[in-house]
Amino acid sequence: MCSLGPVKLTRPLERVLRVLTADPAARHYGYDLMKAAKLPSGTLYPMLARLEQEGLVEAEWEAQRPDAGGRPPRKYYRLTAEGARVARLELAQAAVPDRRVAPGTARPAHGSTQ
């Protein structure tokens, strides 16, 4: 399993992956990612949903903190171990044009994660 499977590596996805792989352990909330990857919400969230479905990204709710000043808890996204591996590989391949593995060759069916 060395590709994003049914998820095609588009420019916006590449930017999101770059942000996420910069520090794979870091948690990002949506607006944070929007700013860092310079993407509109209408592009980012469908992408996150797909990555989450593929098991490449995991989401978790922030615990309610008393010092948050009444701010509602946010949902944070982070690469899974599998996601970090796949993302690094894809980005490395994207950096070398013409040597890309065709998407979908390594993973047979949509939604067959882990």
Binding site: M34, S41, R74
Partner: protein
């Protein structure tokens, strides 16, 4: 700064409205996630001036509408066999209620005209950004209607090019007439996925 809570309420309302497209089990959590981002946008110290933050929050909510549309499409499409036609008469079978739709259209047109006239009376010489804002809104509305016509699988009563012409010639009346009368909205009588198929 005082406008922020109001903008936040509007944006939350938009997010809730967009969330209605999602299946029940997803809706609450998604809306909670997206609404929770609004304070971060509205009180983002790195963005100046305040107006810009409001614009960002509203365009964020607009992006949520795009998101829910894509998510619901992605969830629905696999259920439809590829290449299968949608059920015959799915559109014509939809209860038309032309009178009600035409009334709603006329009413919204009157409201817009009335508001415009009273605004023009209140500010006899509007200059600068109100004019730009008004023209921008009008332009955005026309573009929205045209895009909707192009993307729709079918429209009612008139051919697509005729609706497009009406929308472009009479602003905003044509667009309102199209949205209230000519548009085939999503409805339970349409099979899943067909409302988005091109």
């Amino acid at each position: 700064m005082t406008a922020m809570p109001r903008v936040q309420r509007i944006a939350e309302g938009l997010i809730r409205a967009s969330g209605r497209r999602l299946p029940d089990e997803e809706r609450a959590e998604r809306c909670r996630e997206w609404s929770a981002e609004l304070p971060a946008i509205l009180y983002d110290e790195s963005v100046h001036p305040d107006l810009m933050r409001s614009v960002r929050a509203l365009s964020y909510s607009a992006g949520i509408a795009v998101t829910t549309r894509r998510l619901s499409r992605a969830a629905r499409l696999p259920r439809r066999a590829p290449g299968s036609a949608w059920r015959d008469g799915a559109i014509s079978a939809r209860p038309g209620n032309l009178g009600l739709r035409a009334t709603i259209g006329l009413a919204s047109w009157l409201v817009i005209i009335f508001t415009t006239v009273s605004l023009l009376r209140a500010f006899p010489h509007p200059g600068g950004w109100p004019v730009v804002l008004g023209l921008g809104l009008a332009g955005a509305f026309v573009v929205f209607c045209l895009a909707d016509i192009v993307r729709a699988p079918a429209v009612r009563y008139l051919p697509k090019w005729a609706w497009a012409l009406i929308c472009a010639v009479q602003i905003p009346g044509g667009g309102i007439i199209y949205l209230s009368v000519g548009r085939v909205g999503r409805s339970p009588s349409l099979p899943p996925g067909s409302a988005q198929s091109r």
